[in-house]
Amino acid sequence: MKKILIVFSLCAVFFNVLHAQNLLSKVPVNATMVIKYGNDNFAKSVPVKKLDSYKFIKENLFNMLGVDTLTSIQNIGINLEDDSYQYVSAEDSSLSFVTLMHVKNATQFAQFIKDSYGTKNKTEDKNGYQFLNISNNTYIGWNQTVATIVNTTYKNKESYYEYKNRTDTVVVATVATTEAISDSAVSEAAKAAADAAAKTAKTKVYKDGYKAPKKLDKGKKKPAAKKTTSKKVTPKKKTTPKKKVYDEGAVVVEASPYVETYEDSIENRKRDLWEQQQEMIANKIQQTNANKIIANVFTESQNTIGNSIGYKKVIEPEAHVSVWLNTDYLISQYQRYFTRDVYSMIKYAEPSLKKDTTDGFKTGLNIYFEKDKIRMQQKSFSENAAMENLGKQIMQSKQNLSLTNVVNPDNIGYFSMSINTEAMLNYYYTAIKKYMNSMSYMSEYSDAINVYIDLLQIMIDEKGIAELMPGNYMFVLHNMKTKMIDYIDYTYDSEYKSTEVKKSKKELSPNFTFVMDTRRVDFMEKLAKLPLKYAEKQHYNYKDKDGYYELAFDSTKYPVSSLYFIVKDGKALVTTSKEVVTNTITNKGFIIDEETKTSILNNNYSMKIDSKKLFEILESEASTTANKKSAAYMKNNMGNIQTESAFKDGMIQGTTTIKTNGTHANSLEFIFNTIETLNKIKDDEQIEESKKVD
């Protein structure tokens, strides 16, 4: 959380006014995420001088940027009152995070860069701009008006284990070269790096015939391989373990000494060399990529994302901060992250998806920092009429009034969802087809995939599923009570002999209800009754309580004592609340306030969290003093969180508000004050801890 807040604050430092050159024209059309730090409202909310006064900006942010704490952010040469952008681009198997800012004073900026990052790497004069390599993956380019920072990471690295599994024939340089060359867009850079790596490998030859890796340049990041020395390796003579006879007569063998074996040594060197070559290739590709991105900013007129309808439709120019996402692309990237591994995230990159600017959903999040609340407007839109219609159909649903009966007035939070299940299922078929066809190794078989998915659609009865679960759901967290739980601990006497003792502690017990509507009461009743038959055999306590079912738990083992299941009047409920059970059986319900009722019934999604109650609970449960203080601060300064979402103006639109309390000038200042305070609480705790140690 802290990291997110720091990154946010890093971004928030760079804000804008409207009169300046529009840096949006420098954001390419194939960006997958764009963040804009918008207009002078931002500067009005938290003036630059105020920003300069925050300790965390000086210590955390400046430290992250490599800037000394004496520097004022007013004197770094960046025009902090002009708009700035950040975007993510995925090209040539590299993921790049690019920052675009206005320069106020190029000399001051150059000096700031020099002071912060030293003079080791020489600034290069390029075609109309200066270029500086800060590290292997960070590059800066600037001229008199614009500065750009590119942080790029080559993602097509192969892991050593993957490589080892593939082949035991170690011709490292050859393999590395082949791998790199297969990446077409960067083949030249990769080839050069691989050649260099191969050359390096020839520089030192040991008596055992093994070629040692050349040491990396100072400042270069060392590969995460096991350390080895460059000393001559003498194969160790293998000795037979000595056998000894101990008092009890048992024959034992001495433990083997912890000495690196000859085979280990060779293996480690192979791995070192392989890792270094991979790193050299990656660095070269990263540099080529950063060069290309920076050159485009200064020398080419880009096909900008600002001209696309998908951007203009969902981004509100007056927002203080706006975030634009190519949702489909990000979803597929997210799926790939979990289904493969992090390095393969964009391995089978998606030339098809990243260049796709018309299909699929584009999402815009427009953030406003108002006096007493943060307001976030979310919009999802597709230029494709069919997709837009699918979105509309999914949201063509209205919450069932009877589900609001379970929302108690003093709840901690609730979440209401009302969607058209049948339309949602139909959307899945389209989404799966799009996703499958976007995979480079699948696109060749797209016709066959489409036929299979059509067949799946024929076999699945969407109407039947929609009968069972029409799409209205409600979750309510009624309250959180504490209960006593026993546990085992150990105590020690003066001679440190341990004794097992039973202790008890308070633990939170959530009291919640989940309810959904159904038109297949007969099926849901069968489902609720089913466990009765197997309860005894499976050793669980499930009983028919005449109108509802109870699954009882051992209260010393579980946070909840019972779960109740009821199917009645077209509703299926699971709850821990006996009150809800009684209400449902007697056809009663909680009386809900009009505002909440309207929010639930007029929106497809409605959510509310009572922050004060939630933080009160967290405060009581916090294990450390610092966490207790943090929870107490949040309880007093953060207000309720509320979300509403519906289909409006041809788009899925939602609003989330986070209210703020306390003495903050506005909600943006609330964020900065909160980071500052939470950091201070943590720092104070560390100081206290170090005093104890001393």
Partner: protein, 220 residues
Amino acid sequence: MKTTTYFSLLFFLISFTGCFEIIEQATIKADGSGNFQLVLNCSKSKTKLNSIIKMKTINGHDVPTQNEIKSKLIDIEKTIAKTPGISNVKSSIDFDNYIATISCNFAKPTQLNSIVKNITEKEKTKYNEKSFDYNATTNTFWRLNKLSVKKDYDKMSNADKEIFATANFTAVYKFENTVTSVSNKNAKIAPSNKAVMLQANVLDIITEKKLIENKITLTK
């Protein structure tokens, strides 16, 4: 089972508990032989574990079943039993309170290093460091800790880091001979001078604020 299974087990037993204690107890006779016991007490988090064990996965990690945990423990017990110089290996796990115990007798304290070596070799993990040493000539016992997990810890998410904030480590070493000195300033010597105790927060050990390394010198 593969390393991932070990990781899943460890992750399950430690990462989701939020509060756990590791207790290391060793009794060392004058000839260097003795008994070793390792206890992982997750009893304070048993309600969470009772809920988690009913899931198949959590946060992308597989949750092992009770049978898988039992089977893994037996597997570890067998590996330990095969270690030369190690005898009387016993293991137990109490799923009511989530307390796992493993104990064994050893002929020399250094044979405990072989246990770690055998397990790590079998599972092909990288951690294979010397933890115990004993010099019969000088009557000196060493608890070592060359394993540095600070970097691994730094890579963890804040939520995962929080788990270690309330976790504790207790080490108790008992001797037939009298203890004359301990090198670790946080270690306490029993009034009889026959036992040494060291307690520390796991987070402090990980972040290297507190050391568990200790050189215990005994009378000859």
